[in-house]
Symmetry: C2
Subunit: 262 residues, 2 copies
DNA sequence: CGAGCGCTTGAGCTGATTCAACAGACGTGG
DNA sequence: CCACGTCTGTTGAATCAGCTCAAGCGCTCG
């Protein structure tokens, strides 16, 4: 069941052979609940297991001295938030549960074994860490350059598209059990300002967030408002046309652009 | 020479055996100059080579429709900014030269060959991509939560420490050939505000930036101002004491914290 | 019923932006 | 050699997005 879940996530960003799936099916781990607000990993630790979300919502975050914190990313069911610990000596942020969640802890040894056996799985797990890095880059852009209403729209689009990819949506809605304060920590805003911004968004009738659930009524409008382009999620079913839309740059490109090698 | 440079960088974040170094020495690539402001890679491309900085300063960046751009990270000499392309289908941001630079383009095939041969090198290259991700997480925190003067101090600390690790400093200074506008694009500020903030920092006499060179006079004070903790750079010579300093959290930790597995 | 948590609202403040003008350094071409 | 344009840095004044502080409201749960 743990291996199947991991397989589902990996197949969102690449191809799995039946041998890959069979190898994953053998993966062992322990299942445990995590209470709301509790941390599974804290900065500085050297875990010997990776985490897989089975249910709920996790986040990577770090506290600052002044009591504020920054959330670096959210993790939905099927996501594997601490794959990075496979090849880095210690983790540099905390992994916490936004709400009561269920996770699987998979010993590194299990993953090393399966990666040794199936190089394609190693490539995909590496890719998964790269996709997570791409998400953080997008958050950097979002938080640094977008005004609050666009930033919130962008976050909603991301969570919704990721939920769709993980088959966690029903109709136009998905769970998003984050308080306004949690959203504020993700966006680098204050809870008060998130509150006012959310009201503005509600008035547009593009989107709503209530009782821990996100209702997306007008995705295209919301995506336009948030300048959201899903290509950074590297989902397999994303069309290439969309991907290349944002590539154009006002600067000159390298002289003799094509055929760089030889 | 290309392989040696890569070895130097990898040995900053891990251990290389002599066999690893020997394998790297064989790595082939082509050297080419890149003019200031030109892009080596543009978003959407599917490169078949990785990039290694030999001289100069590169950055990952992406343009927005309104003509502003966000820089995601800088890359000094010895850094390998596009290792991610090894395992991801297309790059999602541009790789540009901040100033006239020299890069080596290493065909993916070369790197796959050496990683197959030396699993330790694969682990370290994977780790390198993870360290780059950690840097972006830090930038997210910095740009989202720090006021301008702290953010600028933080960026200066990072560039200086990374330059030290790459043995690119002489005394208390290193090259940082970025214009105030470039810094603004990294910090998510306007060039005007960077200008005023830089003047404030100069007045403290902790740091100066002139003629494309960064002079760090009072590193400790600057680090305190920028809330800079180098642990996220995962440099080998960083002491563990420092690493764990920031781990404490005002929240409760998971029940029965120790011994998660079995 | 009371406590706590999350959401809402108001008023005043401030850090950063915008727009605009100008100054110095540099390179280029006449 | 000077004249010119471009690029980078600097300064001022007005404006605004988002913050702070503070109070109040409505749930839910013990």
């Amino acid at each position: 069941m743990i291996g199947e879940t991991l397989a589902e996530r990996l197949s969102c960003i690449g191809e799995l052979s039946s041998a890959d799936r069979a190898a994953l099916a053998d993966v062992k781990g322990t299942v445990r609940p995590v209470a709301k607000g509790c941390d599974i990993l804290t900065a500085g630790e050297e875990p010997e297991f990776a985490v897989l979300v089975l249910r709920g919502l996790l986040c990577h975050h770090r506290w600052k001295r002044d009591g504020t914190r920054q959330i670096h990313s959210f993790y939905l069911a099927k996501d594997a938030p601490s794959l990075e610990s496979l090849h880095i000596d210690y983790v540099d942020s905390n992994l916490g549960a936004v709400v009561q969640s269920t996770v699987a802890l998979i010993p590194h040894a299990e993953l090393f074994r399966v990666m040794e056996q199936r190089p394609n799985l190693r490539a995909l797990m590496w890719r998964e860490t790269l996709v997570q890095a791409a998400i953080v880059r997008e958050w950097l852009t979002r938080n640094s350059t977008l005004p609050a209403h666009s930033a919130l729209a962008h976050l909603f689009c991301e969570m919704f598209v990721r939920a769709q990819a993980a088959e966690l949506t029903t109709g136009g809605s998905c769970d998003l059990p984050a308080t306004q304060e949690t959203l504020a920590h993700a966006l680098g805003l204050t809870a008060v300002h998130v509150n006012r911004t959310l009201q503005m968004l509600r008035e547009t009738e593009m989107v709503d967030l209530k009782n821990g659930r996100l209702y997306v009524h007008e995705f295209d409008q919301l995506a336009a408002l948030g300048e959201f382009d899903p290509s950074y999620l590297h989902l397999r079913r994303c069309s290439k046309a969309v991907r290349h839309a944002a590539a154009t740059s006002p600067r000159q490109t390298i002289a003799g652009g094509a055929g760089l090698i030889q």
